[in-house]
Symmetry: C2
């Protein structure tokens, strides 16, 4: 689990690979695994990395066998070693491994009252692999350094036209009347597993779903704003610069429903 | 040299690092090392990765001691292991290693008659670390796969407005009368060590230097087009789709002058 990888692995050389970060329940289950697996297989298809689905299941099961209680399981898949410069080898030997870790340290108060968001200067440019959870994450690393330097809880990352795309490690949502809005991820961003689950739940519950790019100022009139990812679940946002939002009941319900999967 | 790296290294997790690819002469020297070192230190500064310059020199010297004749030396510097998600540790323990390899297989004929270029579909979006030779290289990997699939020698990568930025692994130049043009690398691309050397040589030799973004069609009227990198030197371009260029004497001179450094 805490192994080593060949120094000529293309994951290290070029970020030529993908990862998934799964929340593990106290009972050692991973209820969102089918969605994580689907995203990983989709990304591998786009990158042209061959995957053996049974090997994926064995890797997951082997890691879960070592898990003791709730936590996070990170799966990494790279194209493996070789190739001539950027050119991948014709028949790659992918590298696949899992690592266990603890849940991130969000407090009950942050989960209940909401978090403080800032706006990162680091832009999210056009990504030819938008939606994929690939290993090219320097913009997020730079954004997360801004969050720490500014003392925010999380940071909103904007595209070149200053339209929100996502937070550094979470997707963005806002409520407007009976509409649930989240940015489109066609040009940049990670199509979060929790985001997909929430959009389906919301549509089934009768919400109008609005997935498109909007200016930052769109958020000002929101009834409520929240973030999501598959590890943390739903985090309400209470403040962004001079804007303050309450935590409306539907946001608490999304949070509760997603948490219920892990009980 | 052919070692292994911890599987939680941030270079592997997020491409959180930099690399340099140096040409080693038959005599075992690396004449462009000061320029490679300057770019690596600049990138490390932008990323906030601490570097110990004497350790860098020792790593280079250790690798060169193992070199036997002409080849390529690749230096990789990552932020090392640790951190909480995208957030880097406050005091990183960087990973630094060198690997030796052979020169890429460009033929004498390609170096003399020129190469065939294609236009990649994969775009180069805005990169907050434009100019740096960082480890987030998936666009180049995708571009290089296009080159192989199409049977070109190299591929031109364009920005979102279809303006040339660079080739997948080389910088782009073109001659127009007494002007040497190369794209600006303020939004994307790698500020090549050979590119920097060539621009200085050309300016000293009286060329007008034009560094800015231009539409793809700008190339049509060029007197000559060429590519450069620190390992291959100068490669003339003879063809891009329906456009064909001769190899004018100044391109041969740039090629010869750069090659002379390694003799």
């Amino acid at each position: 689990m805490n192994g080593r990888v060949a120094s000529d692995d293309r994951g290290l050389a070029y970020g030529d690979g993908l990862f998934e970060t799964l929340r593990v329940s106290a009972a050692g289950t991973t209820p969102l695994w089918p969605r994580h697996r689907a995203r990983l297989l989709d990304g591998a298809g786009r990158l042209g990395i061959p995957v053996d689905p049974p090997a994926l299941e064995r890797c997951l099961e082997g890691a879960l066998a070592d898990a003791s209680g709730a936590g996070v399981l990170k799966l990494t898949l790279t194209r493996g070693p070789g190739g001539r410069g950027y050119l991948p080898p014709e028949s790659p030997t992918p590298t696949l491994f899992a690592r266990l870790g603890g849940l991130p340290p969000w407090s009950d108060e942050q989960r209940s009252r909401g978090v403080v968001l800032g706006v990162c200067d680091t832009p999210l440019g056009l990504d030819p692999l938008a939606g994929c959870k690939h290993l090219n994450r320097l913009p997020q690393v730079l954004g997360r350094r801004e969050v720490a330097a500014q003392g925010w809880d999380e940071g909103l990352m904007l595209d070149e036209w200053r339209r929100p795309v996502e937070a550094t490690a979470m997707n963005l949502f806002a409520l407007f009347g009976n509409t649930l809005w989240t940015p489109s991820l066609e040009r940049a961003g990670v199509a979060g597993v929790a985001r997909g689950w929430l959009l389906e739940q919301a549509a089934a519950a009768g919400w109008c779903i609005d997935v498109r790019m909007r200016p930052l100022s769109h958020l000002r009139a929101a009834d409520g704003v929240f973030l999501s990812n598959a590890v943390v679940g739903v985090l309400p946002v209470r403040k962004l610069a001079q804007w303050v939002w309450p935590v409306p009941e539907p946001v608490r319900r999304f949070q509760r429903d997603l948490d219920l999967l892990f009980q």
